[in-house]
Symmetry: C2
Subunit: 341 residues, 2 copies
């Protein structure tokens, strides 16, 4: 039994002959080592937990962003021999262990944690971040010895969007933002405001609206902007989904982007090029965020001395039709190739 273990773990001190015999036996018997027993003795579970609130009021997994990040996580975790443990909502009393996130993390002997779609001041999350278990927060500026973060260059992206609109001649530029309680919401607003100032444009509070990253809020916000005495000629919207809602609000009044109001989104979700008009947006590398988070975790797990990185990924302006920055009718370009998946 000890020898089998040695073969399984590729220890050197096994004679080639025995090794073969053991491997043969494993094959014919269809033996599968039991992770449960193994991790009981080693303390390692090869599990990375993904904490992601899904539920009423937190429809986060619903947002394409999280889905894409998950793809990236999976892509890196697998080859590193980790599996992903998706925690169901934290509030559920019956949840595994009947505890909060930290309890469940210990319960499963989780070795690394990805935090997303959660509030940064949630006491449960703070507890996890301080627990000493390697953590990577996505779009959340948690920090600490073993807690790092990944996010896109939201400030830079917002500036990019504003400069693009400014370069096209717009001077009345508005912003539809996300919740300022979230990092992306706050940073994109900040980037917008900074760039407006830098360009010497007046600060107009009525040009700043707040949504929730989902379509309906974009629709509402755009309607409010259109109702202003002096509506903006361009809008930087903090998420493509909200931009889609905003464009719909225009259509409701018989208006159209970019002819009446130029629109720039953020994310570059898959359907962005399929909207009418095709959406100009700031592309962030969503799977890349997931990959970076997973890589950082794998590294932190391997090296207990490694401290947690704070990673910022670059973004990119993708010019399509909704901003008026490109002529209509070359729809093939700017469409993301499918095999990118």
């Amino acid at each position: 039994v000890a020898t089998v273990s040695r073969v399984l773990n590729d220890y050197p001190d096994v004679s080639p002959k025995t090794r073969r015999r053991v491997q043969e036996a494993i094959r014919t018997e269809g033996f599968v080592p039991d992770r449960t027993a193994r991790s009981l003795v080693t303390g390692r579970s090869r599990l990375i937990a993904v904490v992601l609130e899904t539920g009423v009021g937190h429809p986060d997994l619903q947002h394409p962003f999280f889905q894409e990040v998950l793809v990236g996580l999976k892509r890196v975790a697998g080859p590193s021999a980790y599996d992903l443990l998706l925690f169901s909502a934290g509030d559920v009393g019956g949840g595994s262990g009947g505890h909060g996130y930290l309890g469940r993390i210990r319960h499963h002997r989780v070795q690394g944690v990805v935090l997303m779609g959660v509030a940064r001041d949630d006491p449960q999350i703070e507890e996890v971040a301080r627990s000493g278990v390697p953590c990577m927060a996505v779009d959340l500026d948690l920090a600490g010895g073993r807690t790092g973060s990944v996010m896109s260059d939201n400030l830079g992206g917002a500036a990019l969007a504003v400069r693009h609109l400014h370069a096209l001649g717009h001077r009345r530029i508005a912003h539809i933002g996300g919740p300022t309680a979230t990092m992306p919401g706050a940073h994109r607003l900040m980037g917008f405001a900074d760039e407006i100032r830098r360009l010497g444009l007046p600060h107009r509070p009525e040009y700043v609206r707040r949504g929730d990253f989902y379509p309906d809020s974009g629709h509402r916000a755009m309607a409010e902007l259109l109702d202003l005495q002096e509506p903006p000629t361009a809008v930087f919207v903090s998420a493509d989904l909200m931009a889609a809602g905003a464009i719909q609000a225009l259509a409701d009044r018989g208006l159209r982007a970019p002819d009446h109001v130029a629109v720039v989104g953020f994310d570059d979700i898959h359907i962005a090029p399929l909207l009418q008009p095709a959406l100009t947006t700031i592309r962030q590398d969503m799977p890349g965020l997931g990959e970076a988070a997973a890589r950082a975790l794998v590294e932190m797990i391997a090296d207990p001395a490694a401290d947690a990185p704070a990673i910022t990924l670059p973004v990119q302006l993708i010019v399509r039709e909704s901003s008026g920055g490109r002529k209509k009718g070359r729809p093939a370009e700017g469409r993301r190739p499918l095999d990118r998946v």
Copy 2:
């Protein structure tokens, strides 16, 4: 130690006084029971595995459908005290246990498995389906003692779409389908063909195109249809994402749904009402599929005698603009409320 275990598992044979003392100690010590040790002895892991190929050639998690199903799974698994184990791609040698899916299932002592986005003739999947571990396949007609399935009424949905178009006066109705190797692809095509026949319309092979459920293929297929000598006046598209591509193909030629070609999709993904024109579609209850699968698994796990159900969920025609079945300009209706999440 035995008494603590009894308290933890709510055994009756503990004096109230001792019980309180133990609970108090658990609290002050911050004790968390170790699942690993527990499942070593009980054989139960409280883990449901989700097998979902994500990778080049299988960009499935990428499709909104799977994301929504996952939401449903999470919603039911959590309260039943199960956590979800997301398997990373199967081909990876380094994966947990270094084995195929079944190996990893045993490795983690997984108690139930959700199969989706996989090929039904994948030998690995067949192995899992025959293993005796409770399985539920989503959109896959696997069956067997412990293997059941959930899917939407794809046949009925397709018929619904065709009847809707027929009722609007269309006689030249085409179909852009998904891969016939997939259950939804095959059934929606079948439903289409059957209904065409039932209505006494001629069978025109050139009116049946095949895509891959993603936008580009819809775009290509629509372009081909438009190039026909006698193009169709209406198209039933097997997925909203493809329908979005198809609508784009129309726009490329200065055409528009429903004026030139009426379009009906399938799925009712979140952005369906935000497309221009808002997409008429067959709504399937995607989170509902996940919930049903999870519920079935929980039940099968609890009762070893229970056999696996084959569940079909109803679908619903959602009339918006792209089919011409409704007047434009009432955009508020047909939009899915956000709190449905």
